[in-house]
Symmetry: C2
Subunit: 282 residues, 2 copies
């Protein structure tokens, strides 16, 4: 049960990318989310480990959400699984470039604990950042999604250097094109009036707003703060395809109480109770 | 004492611009700020009336601030006066295009209540949005400012239509160039390492970040919310000239208690006690 060990304080720690292991070698953990309503398999080392970020991303979808959700860069499926577990009327397509990671999502779908949503999940092996013709050939089709969610790599290639040993730094590192190809693909696959929800580093707010420009509007920005008085370390941002409605900067969420390591009751309700962030459709 | 009647809830009300009066006609109010440490003269109608926005803008300057502060688009001087009253080691240049309004600032500097800061204020009649050579000829000189503050017009010309009767819609209406000429001028007059502090509509966050791009960094975003659970209606944003430091999204301030119309003690301390927003230099 290591699920909450990673990113527990939403700290900006640079992940260790020097030891990449083949998850088929068996060094895999089995982790519970949403108080046991969701289980995922994660490689112990060498790849991105899902945590709070994936849960908060899934919690941003309003309870009223229906239709097809595409999780762009799904990893082992944590966000997509949590979304499907919360929302009985959605189906979810996990899109991931790393086949070994996608095979762990496939394995988790056989778990008896995941039966209540497993038949509403499908998997797609594709490169989100590929050019349009290649993406379309790979099944990432225009307007295929009612809504997209994404937890893109947090670190820019020019700010942090990935270990040369790491063949799979992709889960942590954006290449030199940054978020542009991610949001371009999202704009292609989401139908008009559908939404894109992203969780990202708070200090990347301007980059994110800049690539959304002209593609998405009606932006809701939700700051996530580790403590009541601390700056946000993450933002959840939800935007509507082709909308011209104004941006809203919402109060956001505080993860921990002022003193000690206790989670706030609000964050416990989200992480363990499967509650949503309270966003409404617009 | 009408000072708090305007924008008290930071509501998005479209100001009445149909009746523009000449302030020399005498229909002017004398309003106290910071618990009586600052007095300004304001036209009763037809021009922008200063309120909370100007006070919060001035409060964003850290207590350690020294040097020359330039208030771009100062109106009758409320923000510049409040800054000078709070900070004994600064001098302030008010820059305003509207001569009638500037004459009210001049009049207020004769007030005995304002003696404690009046000799550290000077006035400059200039068009902030003019092209460089004209600005420079008018006295808006490169690197003249250690810090700039601005409360630019909130409404875009293409979103709201000013009354054709109004000759002075400038205080409320940005022209079709938006914030670009304002921030360009700020970038010209602020020395490297100096700051620009802006108060603006929260839903203009992306526009503001977009024009700051490449000119200012180390951006601190401070949301101002009318109630604890409400979206921000204003943002105060402070940025450092030519810095590459990352953006911070701060917790911000709540103006009113959850119930009723009482101000929070934190906002009272700022509005009546002259306390700062707690920003530190960076």
């Amino acid at each position: 049960m290591l699920a909450w060990n990673t990113n527990c304080d939403l700290q900006e720690t640079i992940p260790d990318m020097t030891e990449v292991q083949d998850p088929s070698s068996g060094d895999v953990t089995h982790d519970a989310f949403l108080g046991g309503r969701v289980y995922v398999y994660q490689p112990k080392k060498g790849r991105h480990r899902a945590g709070l970020d994936a849960v908060f991303l899934a919690a941003a979808l309003p309870v009223e959400t229906t239709g097809r959700i595409v999780d762009l860069g799904s990893g082992v499926g944590t966000a997509g699984f949590c979304a499907a577990a919360r929302l009985p009327d959605i189906s979810v397509t996990l899109v991931e470039i790393d086949e070994a990671v996608l095979s762990l999502a496939q394995k988790a779908l056989q778990d008896p604990e995941n039966t209540h949503f497993a038949d509403r999940i499908d998997l797609l092996h594709a490169d989100i950042t590929a050019k349009g013709s290649l993406r379309h050939a790979n099944g990432l089709l225009p307007t295929m999604a009612d809504h997209a969610i994404m937890n893109p790599p947090y670190y820019e290639a020019d700010r942090f250097r990935a270990s040369p040993k790491s063949g799979r730094a992709g889960a942590h590192m954006l290449d030199e094109r940054g978020l542009e190809p991610w949001v371009k693909t999202a704009a292609d696959i989401v139908r008009e009036g559908g939404s894109l929800t992203v969780i990202f580093r708070a200090d990347g707010l301007h980059e994110l707003l800049s690539v959304l420009q002209g593609r998405f509007g009606a932006i809701d920005v939700i700051p996530l703060r580790p403590r009541p008085d601390a700056p946000a370390t993450r933002i959840v941002l939800r935007a509507i395809r082709a909308s011209k409605a104004p941006l809203k900067l919402l109060p956001g969420f505080v993860l921990h109480e002022s003193e000690g390591s206790d989670f706030t009751s609000q964050s416990k309700n989200i992480m363990r109770g499967g509650q949503g962030l309270g966003l409404t459709p617009r």
